[in-house]
Amino acid sequence: MYVLIAGGEPVGLQLAKFLIAQHHQVRLIENRQQVLAHLHQKLPTEVIIEGFVTELDLLEKAGVRQADVLVACTPSDTENLALCYLAHELYNVPRTIGRINDPSHAWLFDQKYHVNVALNEATILAHLIEEEMSMGDMMTLLKLRRGNFSVVEARIPEGTEPVGVAIKNLVLPDQCIIAAIIRRGEMVVPRGNTVLEASDEVLAVTDAEGAQQLSELFSV
């Protein structure tokens, strides 16, 4: 895929590194001198394009016409909106992703400006923090689909309901599946008749509601 990223700090750089590692073609546009100095230390020179992200000549030089995805992640919401709009309107970029810096601008990040996907950093982060606080001993290992699903790990304490119960008899939340059990440092593949023991570490894939219920099930 050909991915054009506008804005290098802090999201653009991480994204570029990640995409390059996956052998995607990446171009990153940035104009702030300080950020550029940093980018040049971390990314191959041919990836970095110096200039204002709203300069059409520069976008064209960066290959916007060939881009499969445009990621507008500058620190300016105005620029991000304008970029998504123009990428679609002038250059038919099939997919645009816009970063929302100020949550009070979130209402603009949709078809009004041809934004296909809006990423509201503050809200996502707040959501994740809130979730972590309410989870007790459960740990989130991985977030999937913008945080809607996750892989969680929970240790089964002594004297709780699941101890001595086979997985098939365990009342699990609807949107939740146990993926693995770590028992005394070894992995046990979970089958229906696997009986849970105290101190087992359970890995599960679940949605947000399921994680909450799971956390309750495994607490004293």
Binding site: A82, Y85, L86, L90
Partner: protein
């Protein structure tokens, strides 16, 4: 009309005062309260400090009841984004943006907006007035495809008939300023050095005007 002016710098404040004096209900919005110092103390319109891209500020500015909006900040990107929202979300009839840096004209044009380029216009005026050419373009209107020219008669035109200068069918659209008098077209009107001729013509007549002007210049 209810008019919202976004940006209260030199242009925004002047525009707001002008609109207000013409009897419009004016609301000025600026991100910085310090900008309102540009408005005179007797300004009658409303002023709102805030971010024009938030619903709260739009609501306070009563954008639902606005008939027109001018985005005249010194950020070309912000002007375009605000104007686009005014058109697409609030269906405001007349939306005009200021082009601050001519470098970003094409960018704003891509939004399909009505643009007034203050720097670009000023530059053309300078070029015009600095040149020896008696013909000065004062205004063009792309919608009606008309242009207004100012022509300052040089010495050698003295005694020529005004109608020698005019393209066909344009005699009704001419006014001559001679010292403190305003003259209208007459068949036998002869030109004097220093006459200032104002002529409104369609885009199609422009080349005819240039031809007649060249003939007079060659004499």
């Amino acid at each position: 009309m209810n008019v919202i002016v976004v940006g209260c710098g030199r242009l925004g404040s002047t525009l707001a005062v002008q609109l207000s004096m013409s009897g419009h209900q004016v609301t000025v919005v600026d991100g910085s309260a310090a900008s309102f110092i540009n408005l005179p103390a007797d300004f009658h319109g409303r002023v709102i400090e805030g971010d024009m891209l938030t619903r709260d500020v739009l609501h306070r500015a009563e954008i639902e009841h606005a008939d027109a909006l001018a985005a005249v900040t010194n950020s070309d990107t912000l002007n375009a984004v605000v104007a686009h929202m005014a058109k697409v979300v609030y269906h405001i009839r007349n939306v005009v943006v200021r082009n601050y840096n001519p470098h970003w004209y094409r960018f704003q044009e891509a939004f399909g907006l009505d643009i007034v380029s203050t720097a670009g216009w000023g530059m053309h005026r300078f070029e015009d007035l600095l040149s020896d050419n008696p013909l000065h373009l004062i205004f063009t209107d792309d919608k009606s495809k008309t242009a207004i020219y100012q022509i300052i008669a040089p010495k050698k035109w003295q005694g020529h008939l005004l109608k020698e200068l005019l393209p066909e069918d344009s005699s009704q659209n001419v006014t001559i300023a001679r010292k403190s008098n305003i003259l209208q077209f007459a068949e036998d009107l002869t030109l004097k050095s220093g006459d200032v001729i104002y002529l409104t013509i369609s885009f199609e007549q422009v080349s005819a005007l240039h031809k007649r002007l060249n003939l007079l210049q060659e004499d």
